[in-house]
Structure formats: C-alpha cells, structure tokens
Symmetry: C2
Subunit: 423 residues, 2 copies
C-alpha cells in the first residue's frame, strides 16, 4: 500500500497562517453538557493533536447534513444511519485519514471505533457520531484511535475548544470557532461551534466538517430543521475550489442542560426567532472562516446576486462567478475584470436579461444597459481591488431572487499547495 | 472607456509556444469554392494579422452550433439568425475584440460589418457570417475592419489557410488546422477546418471558434445534423478551465464545388458514413489542438468514463474529473492522486457504485472493490505521470454509458497568464 496515494491532504508541519485569518481565536464559553478533549494519536501526522472527542450529556439531540458525494466516506454513512435515532452521547473526529474509499474495511473500522468510544463512555455505539478527514483511499489505522481513548476521556473538559478545533485541521492554517448567545423565553442559551476546511471546498453539496453545540433543549426534528435551513445560506454558500469532499459533515448537538425554557415542539415556533438567527450567524461565521483559510487565498470575496428568478437561480449564478477560474485569477491579480463576470453570469444557464445586467464592484457601478457605464473609471476600481476584502454585486434584471456566496481568489500558491506537496 | 476592461484576452506579442503543440502546421489542400485572406487591421493588436475573410462559392450551405451562454455576443446572435436561411457567401472573423456585452451598439456594429462585406463581395448581408473574439465589453471599432475589406478581397486565395488560422488567434500559441478526405459514392471530397482557443474553454456548451469547409454538396439540414452530431463528441468534449466564452461558434460550410456525387437528402444516408467519420475526425483534431494550447498546459489528458447509466452521465462524470482543480493540479505535479479522482466522480451527482468503481491510470489498474488494489505500485505510475500524455480510465460499474473528454493540467502558468497580464 502506497502512502499518500489518495490524498486529500497529506502534508505534515504547519504552513504559514492565511493572511485572511481572524486576529485571534474567539473566547468560547462552556456549553452545559459538553466536554471536549484532544490528543496526538499519530493517525498520520506527527507532533500534533489529531483526534478529538466531545462527550455529550444524556438526552442530547442531534441534527446533521452531509456531503451529497456519491463516493461518501464510511463515517458519513455511519452518521447518516445513526441520525435516525436523533440522540447523541459523543462525537469523535480524526484528522489525517478520511476513511473514504476504503471498501468494506472502512465501515468495519468505523464500527470498531464507535464501539470502543461507547465502552469508554458507557453509552450505546449508535449514540457515537464519527467524522474522519484527510487522505482518501488508505485504511484507517483504527487501533491508533482506540488506543488513545482512555487518554481522551481523562482529558475531557468544558474549556478545551481550542485544542478540539486544532485537532481536526488538515491543511487549515488556523483553528476555526464561533459562538453566540440566543434568547428563548427571555433566557440566554449558548451556541458554540468548531469547523475545519481549506481545500476541496465546494458548492451544491452539504459542507465541510463542522460541529455546533448548544445547551438549549430542542427536539431532534426541530434541531434538524434549523440545521438544514441555516446550512443553506452558510456552508452551502461557500466555495474555495468547487471540489466536493467525500467527508463533508455538519453536526449540531443540543444538550438541553441550561436552565429550562418551555418545551418547543416545532421549528416554526416564533420563540425560536433569535435562536434561528444566532445559529445561522455561528454557522456563517464558521463557513466564512473556511473561505478565509482557502488554500493559497489572498482575498476574501463576497458575491451578491439579485434580480434572479429565484434564490436558487441567484445561488447558481453566484457560484458560477465564485468558481470561475478566470474571475478568481483576475481577482488575484487586482484586475476588476468585469467582462469575465459577464461571462460567468452567462454560463450559469439561468435566466438573465443581458441588456439589464448591472454589475458593481465595491462602491462602483460598472455596467448599465448591457454595456459599461460612460462614467466608469477603472483606476479607482483597480485601487479598490488591491484590498483584501472584495465585494461584487450583480443584478440580472429578471426577478427578485437573491443570494450571497463567499469565496476566495485563485493564486499560484493554490497550485503549488496542490501540485507540489509530494515533490 | 477604460481599455482592457472586460478582457477575455488582451495581451499583445506572442507567448512561447505550448510544449504540447503539434510539430508543424498541417498541409491543407485547396477546397473548391473557398478562398481565404487575412490582414492586419489593428482592431486591437499591433503588428499581426487580426481579421480573416473566407469567400464562399454561390450555393454554399452552412451549419452551425453556438455558445449556450445567456450573455452571448452580438456576432453569435447575428449568426444564429442568419443560419435559418442555410446559405453562406462569406465568413469574416476578427480577433482582439469580442463585440460582447456592447449593448445595442454591438448588433449595429455587426450589421455594419456584414453590409460592407456584402457590398465588397456582391452578395446579401444575410449571407455573411461573423465571429469576434477577444476582450469583452468594449465597442467594436468596426471602421478598422471595414477599411480593411478591399485589401482582404484582393488577397483572397485558396491557399491562405495558415494566415487565416493565425489571424483568428488571441492567447493561442499556435495556429490550428486539420484536414481529411472523405468518400461519397466512391469519389473523394475534402474537409478542412481552422480553430482558435486557449482559455475560457468550457464544457456543456457549444465550442470555441472553429470554421470547417468542404467541397461536398450537402443540403443545409443534412449539414446541420452532421455538424451538431460531430460537435457532441469533439468540441463539446473538451475543457481547459470550465469557463464558457460568450462567443463560442462552430460553422461548417459545404460549397458543393467538387465533381458531383448523387444528391443526398438525409443525414441518415448510408453513403455519408465515411464523411461523417472524417468530419468528426477533423473536428476532434481541432478540439484536441485547443486543449493542447490550453493556457499554461504542460500535459494533455484523456479521461474515458465507462459503465455509466448513459453517455450523458459518463460525459458529466468525465467533465467533473477534467474540471476538478484538485485533479488538474495533481496532474501538473506528476501525482497519480487517484483519491481526488474518486472525489470528482462522487461530486458529479450521477449514479455510481462506489464499491465497483475501477480506476486506471496509463496501463496500471489502481482500484478494485471500492479500494486500492493490493498490487498497486505507486512508483511506476508516478514515473508514467511525468510524461506529457496522460490517460485516465474510470468505470463506475452501473451501466454501459461511455464518453471520452480531453483536458489539460492546471499550472502556476495558467494563474500567471490570467492574473498578471495587466500588471
């Protein structure tokens, strides 16, 4: 068996931090009912933490969305199956090996790990959720994980957010976390999440790895509904390279351990308004952090499409712009190349009125009536493009559909990271 | 009006020739009824030919397929409209300006040029076909073209294939042409074509600029059918970067000027068997030359997908592999990263049997039963990947659908060409 054969990511060592990284890791509060731990188990990397365990209080509900890849990894299949029960007592994640395209051995390795976690924490294997991220196509050395479980359990703490976020990284250059407080019945409930992702970040599917926790008390179907809804405009609105992982997973856990609010039985309950907003904010923050850590990224780009036939059409047009190599390389070169935006809008295949297409970059309107504006001053826009936060607005002139996607530029560094790391 | 604002391509000067270029320009015979000419009209470039005119004998029929872009250029709209009559007397092409996203002025400029060509050649404007390629979003300086028409007419010759192919280039590093002889009723008929294309080369749409001529006598509907059919497995089977031009155009012209075969009235006529094969061969040759001139390309990649539900599903999977930045950068780095091929197969969304997926690279089988083969020797495959012609075969194990696509790798040079040419 060749090592590094499948390879989502296989570098060891820590690359320089993305220039778009947040200034510091946020201050994440304890979430009642959640304890975390991370250790170096040597699954693939040396000298860094690579396995994290979160223990969840009895009664914790779980929601999840997963990759739509037709070659999904074994842990994704495991979670999809176990999600039906709606209950979770633990989530275990390893980095360095995706346990994807590993045949029947893959599911057997997942089961072995889940059983060992269940024994360690005195729960049922079906209550243990799993995720693996890293090289595709190599057998998971599951004994390295199971051997580390006692150490993981001993280290469990409500404060270990940073080491948990660090342990799940692959080519990520910084650990990702976000938090918010939401009110239900006037009482505060905490939401906190961690995520990983840098390359193989794609549209039209579920997401990357993200784990979000709250101490609110939410029935499984409500939590699932809130998760899927928030996912649509957060993780499903980002793209680094248009490539979709076999392992994308978002799991949300509600422990119900904070002082109780009145029972909630439907996602449409108006008392969830603030929670819905804050959950979406946490997931959007995590999603944007993934883009900010996009492989080789030097600019964070917001593409807002309006005037489309539907939000779905707007999203498709936005992703066409965000995934266009020609648009992305122009942005890398500080080039306000709006002709390429016209091209990308055209190729999306959605209804657009070419002669009413309005493009704006930053605060500058660029086009009107199907051509460039008479007062367009490219020098100002070029100056703007030298910044690291770029806004692109497109109105396609046919309806009221609107969607915002986030992406980064395509640089020589992206090619270097992905072409050269084995040489 | 800022120059270089829209920019498909705007470099002047000739970049180094692609390492994948054919050894020499082919020997293209005269096609009875076709005379060509090319001049330097200064549309945008200095010091090189940039406009070409082909004059066609009376009675010439025409077929065409065009970009499906929703922001198609004015000349594309012109051709689509004029194609209905099925007759052509001339085709005029300029490089350097795409006459795309130029508002109402764009169609007016196209009409002005067509009328001037018609006057020069004593035909009707509706018999003049047009194509423009280059920067998007700038008004076409049509007077530079019309001023050059007399010179173009004086230069008309049956032999001017090379200068015609050179005049229609933008970032192309070599002129592209192909030819074949097809038999109908035992008599030989010639087919010859020229093409341009290097970046903004995309799937799922029509093509790039290509013009194919024959001296056979084919009714318009037959020619159209043959063209659309050959297009599906030639120009529609290539991708450089997944980006679709606003100007993609394939036009085929049948002059009927060679000694006559018996009348052909349907594309299903068995006497067209050889012609069909040869037309497809010429168009495939031209399409592959475009890939060989892909911006920054260092490797020519053939992706053959079999075992899919349908040829359409196989094509979609093939293009997903061919357009994946992670697969393309791995190829650039001589990395037989089959895990990324698994990923790309998975994201296509077509039915696949993960556990019967078979991947082969060159002569090496890589996977079986949903995992890497026990006898896989990566060192041999890595050696193979250092070559410049890479074959990837994927069988997805669910049906009999099959399709082959051609692409190139994604290199730092692609990023440089598209990020930096204005700095």
């Amino acid at each position: 068996m060749a090592r590094k054969s499948g390879g989502e990511h296989s570098r060891t060592g820590t690359p320089a931090q993305s220039p778009l990284a947040p200034e510091r890791f946020p201050n994440i509060p304890e979430i009642a009912g959640v304890r975390l731990s991370a250790v170096a188990a040597g699954v693939r990397y040396r000298g860094r933490k690579d396995v994290m365990l979160a223990e969840l209080a009895p009664g914790t509900t779980v929601g999840g969305v997963f990759t739509r890849s037709r070659t999904a990894a074994a842990p994704v299949e495991w979670c999809r199956e176990k999600l039906k029960s709606g209950r979770a007592r633990a989530v275990l994640v390893n980095a360095g090996n995706a346990n994807a395209f590993t045949g029947f051995a893959g599911m057997s390795a997942a089961e072995t790990v889940a059983k060992a976690v269940a024994t360690e924490l005195s729960c049922r294997p079906a209550e243990v959720f799993l995720a693996s991220t890293g090289v595709i196509g190599e057998p998971l050395p599951h004994e390295r994980i199971t051997r580390a479980l006692a150490r993981l359990r001993r280290g469990l703490s409500g404060k270990a957010w940073r080491s948990a976020a660090e342990a799940i990284r692959t080519t990520d250059t910084f650990p990702k976390a976000a938090t918010a407080v939401a009110e239900i019945d006037g009482k505060p409930y905490r939401i906190a999440g961690i995520a990983k992702g840098s390359g193989m970040i794609a549209p039209d599917m579920a997401t990357m790895l993200a784990f979000v926790f709250t101490d609110a008390r939410l029935p499984t179907d409500v939590l699932q509904h809130l998760t899927a809804t928030a996912n649509r405009t957060s993780f499903n609105a980002i793209s680094v390279d248009g490539d979709t992982s076999t392992s994308d997973t978002v799991l949300t856990f509600a422990t119900g351990q904070a002082p109780r609010h009145r029972r909630i039985s439907t996602a449409a309950d108006p008392r969830l308004a603030d929670f819905r907003t804050k959950l979406r904010a946490v997931m959007t923050d995590l999603a944007q952090q993934i883009v900010r850590d996009g492989e080789g990224a030097s600019k964070f780009v917001t593409v807002t499409v309006s005037g489309a036939e539907s939000p779905r059409a707007a999203r498709r047009i936005g992703l066409c712009i965000a995934n266009s190599p020609l648009v992305k390389t122009a942005i890398a070169g500080n080039d306000p190349n709006w002709g390429r935006i016209v091209m990308a809008v055209g190729k999306a295949g959605e209804k657009v009125d070419r002669d009413r297409l309005v493009i704006g970059i930053g605060d500058w309107p660029v086009t009107e009536e199907g051509m460039v504006r008479a007062d367009y001053q490219e020098s100002s826009v070029t100056q703007y493009m030298k910044g690291s936060e770029i806004d692109i607005r497109v109105d396609v002139g046919v309806g009221r559909g609107r969607f915002t996607v986030w992406t980064c530029d395509l640089t020589r560094t992206y090619v270097s990271i992905n072409a050269d790391y084995r040489s």
